[in-house]
């Protein structure tokens, strides 16, 4: 096994920045705004020339600001964002980037725990801040987590059944055709995990300030932003690997991988800008009604192909 997978977090961060720029830009274009411009007009050239790296500037700015720690906050307030970042970095080792990853026999299971651990760390950090908004956000986040995790796990396990393995590298393929139900389910759960529009209930800006991150400022918020950027890449790449991957090698593999990632992120951006926000009860009910049923379908479909036909 090569040690090439050690650069995965770096790739995740760099591409994640471009992906979140793409999300912002497409969102703005659909609302007939401009979004962060690619070429700045001459009158404003003294600020900078292009805004393609806008998410990176946001992060650098947050790291150069003061940080407030609330009086009532426990030490977990500081530890939790670092833990979340650690989970995101570890998760990026397990997601193949053009076929390069830490190939472990039970990689999929470890990845489940890391993805869940990242969300749990953010929840713990948020609710220890003692802010009521953060507590409301945390409750919503936990409800979403509980209802979303089952379809996500069932959807990916459908692939595990059809390939008879738990290693992510071995179940990569163009599974969009062989198991479309699983693709839909995993896509929906990625939306929930990334807080894309119909499911951004836990950080609803117009109701509960910013949910779990309400009390964070400066450098700690910067760490959370880095985590968010990396999670965007990790989840989008996971979808591209599991459902849009065509076995190939060398330069071709990178091409296939990045077209998969691009396609998925454009799809996510479209969903983000075309929908309004669910209420929390609507969201949990909808998640129990549609993705859960679809994920059971996906498992049945996969086992049918494998054991019956």
């Amino acid at each position: 096994m090569t040690l090439l997978f050690l650069i995965n977090p770096l790739i995740a961060f760099c591409i994640g920045i471009l992906l979140s720029f793409l999300l912002r830009k497409l969102n703005a274009r659909i609302q007939s705004r401009r979004g962060p411009v690619v070429r700045i007009p001459p009158a404003w050239r003294d600020i900078n020339r292009t805004k393609i790296l806008q998410p990176l500037y946001d992060i650098l700015k947050l790291f150069s600001k003061n940080t407030f720690i609330p009086e009532k906050a426990s030490p977990l307030f500081i530890i939790a964002p670092v833990m979340a970042l650690l989970c995101a970095i570890l998760a990026s080792f397990f997601v193949p980037v053009a076929g390069i990853s830490f190939d472990y026999t039970f990689g999929l299971v470890v990845l489940f725990y890391l993805l869940m651990g990242e969300i749990l760390c953010v929840i713990v950090g948020g609710i220890t801040s003692g802010s009521l908004f953060a507590v409301i956000g945390g409750v919503r986040e936990i409800e979403l987590l509980l209802t979303n995790e089952i379809p996500f796990i069932l959807g990916t396990f459908a692939l595990a059944i059809s390939y008879n393995t738990l290693s992510i590298n071995e179940m990569m393929g163009f599974n969009l055709i062989s198991n479309p139900f699983a693709a839909v389910v995993v896509f929906l759960s990625i939306l929930v995990k990334l807080h894309i529009k119909p499911f951004d209930i836990s950080d609803a800006e117009s109701e509960i300030v910013s949910g779990l991150t309400t009390e964070y400022s400066g450098k700690l918020l910067g760490i959370l932003e880095v985590t968010k950027v990396m999670m965007i890449f990790v989840l989008v790449a996971l979808f591209a690997d599991l459902f849009l991957w065509v076995p190939s090698s060398g330069l071709m593999a990178w091409l296939v991988f990045f077209s998969g990632v691009g396609f998925t992120s454009v799809l996510i951006a479209l969903v983000h800008s075309l929908f309004g926000r669910f209420k929390i009860d609507q969201a949990t009910w909808w998640l129990l009604r549609v993705p859960l049923v679809l994920s059971v379908f996906a498992v049945v479909w996969a086992s049918m192909w494998r054991y019956v036909l």
């Binding site: 912002r24 979004g35 411009v37 700045i40 700015k61 117009s206 910013s210 009390e215 400066g218």
Partner: protein, 139 residues
Amino acid sequence: MSLSGAFLKKSPWVYHAHAGGCNGCDLEILASFGPRYDLERLGIKLVASPRFADILLVTGPVPLHTKPFLERIYDQTPSPKKVVAMGACGCSGGVFVDDENYSIAGPVEKIIPVDVRIPGCPPKPEAIVEGIMKAVRMF
């Protein structure tokens, strides 16, 4: 210009503090973030909490009962920060300027330090863009 200033210039986040205005200014702020004048072109974002903000955009003449909140919002904004007072009310008290007015704590500059003033009742979105850009160039 310090290093942090270089980064702050590139991504200033604005928090809108409403201090007793008539909503005229607030609508114009929304207009300057809308399709026509879109401030997000320059990476400027309207954020929901003063803890994330770099620029405080204060509208209104600051009534007595809003004064403690405005002071608190100013303290809750992590430095480096800039304050933009907006509208005739924010700059000078506007139509509420009369000294005998019992309910006004004064224009914004009496309560927190102000860096940029945007006159007008309400100011045009062009003026808001110009004012915010002035504050951005001060970082």
